[in-house]
Symmetry: C2
Subunit: 218 residues, 2 copies
């Protein structure tokens, strides 16, 4: 019983490996052979579950979409209950990820969205679904503080601005190998939120930046 690998375990291992390789190397640069080797499965197993690399990509995008809460929001929001602070905690989560991976990890969805110049419709639909899920998570935070926002400011549009700023700032931080562009954007977004009356001008004490993680050892 314990020596048998359940089929879904093999499928999950392929998807988890593809997630890692696509964000480390990119989709185009990851061959099916790379996937098989890194996942430790043979091609028969892969083609049993997937018609080809694009189907693996669809499964990866679906996994990101289904996993947004446990994989992204819950870790980012642990210990933060104020809805506006959750928006900034989400941005700082990307900051931590960039620093702790030496700028390898940005936003996997953003990277795939720009790497795939003309994605096939199902791929595009899942990229869009991921962006929507992220934006809606932020929108819900903004709606929860609706009375703090001026009536003319649309929470959906403001959530879109937060998402666009994160994506662009992560791109700049990765290219410059520095968190300075991301820090500048976070500071000004906070200033905008303060001018909207939605947040204090300064972050709550002790939460402005996550502690740097140790690079060596645990």
């Amino acid at each position: 019983m314990f020596n048998q690998v359940a089929p879904h375990q093999t499928r999950n291992r392929i998807v988890a490996t593809a997630m890692r390789l696509f964000w480390e190397k990119g989709y185009q640069s990851t061959s099916v052979a790379d996937l098989l080797s890194a996942a430790g499965v043979n091609s028969g197993s892969l083609y049993h579950f997937f018609a080809g690399k694009q189907e693996v990509l669809l499964a990866v995008l679906d996994a990101y979409h289904k996993g947004i809460r446990p994989m992204l929001l819950e870790p980012a929001w642990a210990g933060t209950s104020d809805p506006i602070e959750r928006v900034f905690a989400l941005l700082l989560h990307y900051r931590s990820a960039l620093v702790s991976t030496d700028y390898t990890y940005g936003c996997p969805i953003g990277s795939l969205a720009l790497e795939l110049h003309e994605p096939d419709p199902p791929v595009r639909a899942l990229l869009a679904a991921n962006f929507h899920a992220w934006r809606d998570a932020v929108r819900k935070c903004l709606v929860a503080t609706r009375p703090r926002l001026p009536p003319k400011v649309d929470p959906t549009a403001l959530a879109e601005l937060v998402l666009a700023t994160m994506e662009g700032a992560v791109m700049l931080a990765r290219t410059h190998r520095s968190v300075a562009p991301l820090d500048a954007c976070i500071k000004l977004l906070r200033d905008y939120f303060a001018r909207l009356g939605a947040a204090p001008a300064s972050p709550p004490r002790g939460r402005s930046k996550p502690k740097p993680r140790r690079r060596n050892g645990n």
Copy 2:
């Protein structure tokens, strides 16, 4: 005399063709064979000028960097003299490019920055130089209106926010094949500038959106 093609013309043709192919298909998906075929040159000519595809990429990034004024800023700013309106004219230039190319054309630098997961140092340096040139063009607009900005707002940081927002919003617009995310971001950036006291809350009459270009004919 007129039948001879000057060497720099061949080099320029290769670079111009690479610019087009890299933004249409991406860097990884463009082979040297694609380049030779599209540019109508033989491999001897290409290798006379470039050691390989990465050297062509460096020439492309250098061309974007040197061409930021004639290729981007001057067309975007034609007819707009107010420095703050120039910032928004630049954003609307991307909007026009997205619409007129059916969302094929985003920002070529942003696309390359995310497509190349671990760019070699000279590639990364030229990507960063392009981002800096763009940011500095916006920063100069902001510095020109310095008295309109609150003293605590750093023009460099604000220019970084404009760049990050453009890059992220172009990414979202391309994925959704809609200008709605970009329009939402432009509207809120304008709202932020208005709250900073740097711009009117509404764009000057007749300049809020560029006229749609005709898709057929000229």
